[in-house]
Symmetry: D2
Subunit: 272 residues, 4 copies
């Protein structure tokens, strides 16, 4: 199967390019499953029920989040009820949301979805290593294809978790830094890995926010509103090819869709 | 002119591939200047006079460092005396080493070299923004080509410094995370930018260190020796094309040289 | 002269005990000057013009702040205009507010007031050591009594700044942790020192906030409103005795005023 | 019963004052149990078997450690074998050492001993809240007197753990900052609490280290050897009075023993 993972969707620009681009990407790139990190989808921070539905309607099959997961409380019922959205598995047991999910891909395969938060340079949280062991043990053994979004700051921690899970999951792909890394690879055990798949939103920005605002605050200490930027919108992600029988990844390809490609993608979606 | 910047050289594997590869790259890629970050060159941390000389002999024209700069005290005389090696400019005034340097490229152009450390998720240090303003003002105005190595952890801080310096320097290229980012670009003002050019050393590792060691310490809290790894050695860097008259960058290209390419590079060097 | 420094005033409970207690303390403890840290005075974070005036009316002669200084933008005009309120001196030059002030004590002495922020475990900021050198050099040499509020997290950094300034200022007293330390002392050079003078606000709390709220968020990751608590309100601070001629401290005494002491203090204020 | 907890013993000066003072304190202050944090006992960092034995011989009944626990690997056999020394309970399961211990006090009561590390501003680690729940459940229910050393940086986290455990343990006393806090209290549920009991070692220092060395490194970035200081040695700790039947604390008293008090203490020890 072919699985597309879309990195942090930031604000309206990110949602727009995802909504317009995903249907065409499914056709054009022959995707069996689309997973997206939506932790910045609502105004740059958090997720709302409306946006959740908008993304699902656009063809996103499963949603992960990150450190901003609970910024908008209205998402709680979605996190409790819907079966295709997960919270980071290394949050406390009492945290709202499910710690893993399974979704059915277009080719019929079941895919396990896990989200984990990094510990380094992040808010205090339990070990993602221990949590990974736990949720992988909980998942039914017939779920061969297993996907992990590792939402982390430090490259060293991402690489270490990737190596730790090599051969046990189909892919460990990172989010949170909002910058795609050029290290996409398949590890010897068959796990696709990339430190960060990058951001889906305005690239004429500082990780999605208005440059002038962030710069003013940095240079003067005056607080400013870090509004979502608008220019040079792109969709970042990676496509992983996975053997459905073994769950092993055989290839990973980085993608970056720009606004000018949207008409062609929309035409492809219509044709199908 | 064409300038190659080589990311963090890690241990013997990193030095070996740099020493063997650089002469051929100069010929093959028509390089006018080679700058390298050598903060991890000595056993994974710091730099020694011998290694400094070895790198210069291989064709490295200027050297930058980072947070590990003073790990080996024997490098102090080199930092004080040599004119092609800089310390981070936002260290205290009293810190050993020069806060900027100029080196002459093969095409005759003078190139200013600056190193700055990030503040986010790093040890306490003064603002790289203020320090950049200061050293750029100190540099002779006829030095049009100006290079900045931003040794930083956080992507947001790297992008912000890049935007802050856009139009004022030829390139702001990052180091420290040891992972190349796929965001190389030339900003509107003519500054080449990339969050991180990546590591020069063993990629079968956790940012250059033995996987088994780092994993054991993470899983058990037992301290282990984080020895430099050995497998899958690569040279990471980026080549920036710069207009000598204006100092504006016109192109940036990411490179990743693997061991199997070394014989061809060595042959190219011999032919020249 | 005798100088009282009051630690972080938190919310309405903190303001109330300060307003009711300070006039009596001035009489009862023969105070020549009262300085207060008010960074948490407005609803637990920041300061407003009204609260500034309320504190000054109660007998607070000078005000310092901390990392929450700009949380309420309405304080900007006060920071720009009033001469008895300072911003941390190691914020950027462009930051709103003055980096030092002089106020006249009841005994006629001029007192220099400085605020500095720590670097360790705080948001990125320039060195408080360099900033201290700069502002002390700027202050008129006839200002012998000099007071420093060091708003910092780490005890090691506080002790180091205290030692660095020993003999150059009358006192280095800490704030920010909201817990008084039992290390008040006069260093050999004549500088009174204490890592933290503690909080003025509700002690039946987690550093001033409702216990149940902070605990729920910690245990479940659900965000809650960290409202200011209400029980067991105390005023924390320290009184430093200083030789007006030399600016040397001769004694430091920790104080903790509880609500039940207010009637006696109010009676003392009335009598005077 | 009366329990003395001694804060971080630093280097030879700390060991010396502990060895000379503890026997006399047991007599003079009628102590039933002495617990000490020894994470800095060996040259300022870590613990060795010899020092472990020296402290036990001096009358220390149980030993806790902290973030520096594994700095000296020779302590591993002691951690594995001895029954009166614990590792932080929120380290990974695989970490060397026991996660709780019981020791018999001089009055015959069994006392449970637990060590926990803070998460805020410390290296990544699992929640001390969850770990506390776990180890308290493991301890035999007839162990009524239960002691927790919370080795943490942030006052807010210390207060929160203290409140979380109020009524469930006899005392939550802090270590790690090396500065005693003036907040010792007994919470409503009967748990004695203090953010930090302070350091046992040289107070003419920066948290135990030579001032000149720490200052040079801070001002110049040059690395120096942070040797243990020598002047003004004190033993810091707190004595908790506990009802043996209920395990509830009834009183807590901060103590600070200076070198000049040692002769009297030694005489008291001899008389007994
Ligand atoms: Fe994030
Ligand atoms: Fe994000
Ligand atoms: Fe490095
Ligand atoms: Fe580095
Ligand atoms: Fe505060
Ligand atoms: Fe603060
Ligand atoms: Fe510690
Ligand atoms: Fe310690």
């Amino acid at each position: 199967m072919r699985l597309l993972f879309i990195g942090d969707i930031v604000g309206r620009p990110g949602r727009d390019i995802a909504r317009r681009g995903v249907p065409g990407l499914i056709v054009d790139r022959q995707l069996d499953l689309v997973i997206a990190n939506a932790e910045n989808a609502a105004g740059g921070s958090g997720l709302t029920p409306e946006i959740y539905k908008e993304l699902v309607a656009a063809g996103v099959d499963a949603i992960t989040l990150g450190d901003h997961i609970y910024r908008r409380r209205e998402i709680f019922p979605i996190l409790q009820r819907e079966e295709n959205i997960v919270r980071p598995a290394n949050l406390p047991d009492e945290a709202v949301g499910r710690s893993w999910a399974t979704v059915k891909a277009r080719n019929g395969s079941l895919v396990g979805v896990v989200s984990l938060l990094g510990q380094l340079y992040m808010k205090p949280i339990d070990s993602p290593f221990t949590a990974a062991d736990r949720v992988l043990a909980e998942m039914p053994s017939d779920v061969k294809v297993r996907f992990v979004d590792f939402h982390a700051e430090a490259t060293g921690e991402a690489q270490l978790l990737g190596r730790f899970l090599d051969g046990r999951v189909s892919a460990v792909l990172g989010t949170h830094t909002h910058v795609p890394t050029a290290d996409e690879t398949v590890f010897p055990g068959g796990t696709a890995f990339q430190c960060d798949v990058g951001m889906t939103g305005p690239f004429d920005s500082v990780i999605g926010r208005r440059i002038d605002r962030v710069l003013e605050t940095r240079l003067t200490a005056n607080p400013t509103a870090f509004d979502v930027a608008t220019g040079d919108v792109r969709l970042s992600g990676s496509i992983v090819t996975i053997d459905d029988e073994t769950g092993k990844a055989t290839a990973i390809e980085r993608i970056c869709v720009r606004e000018e490609e949207l008409p062609a993608l929309e035409a492809a979606a219509k044709r199908s």
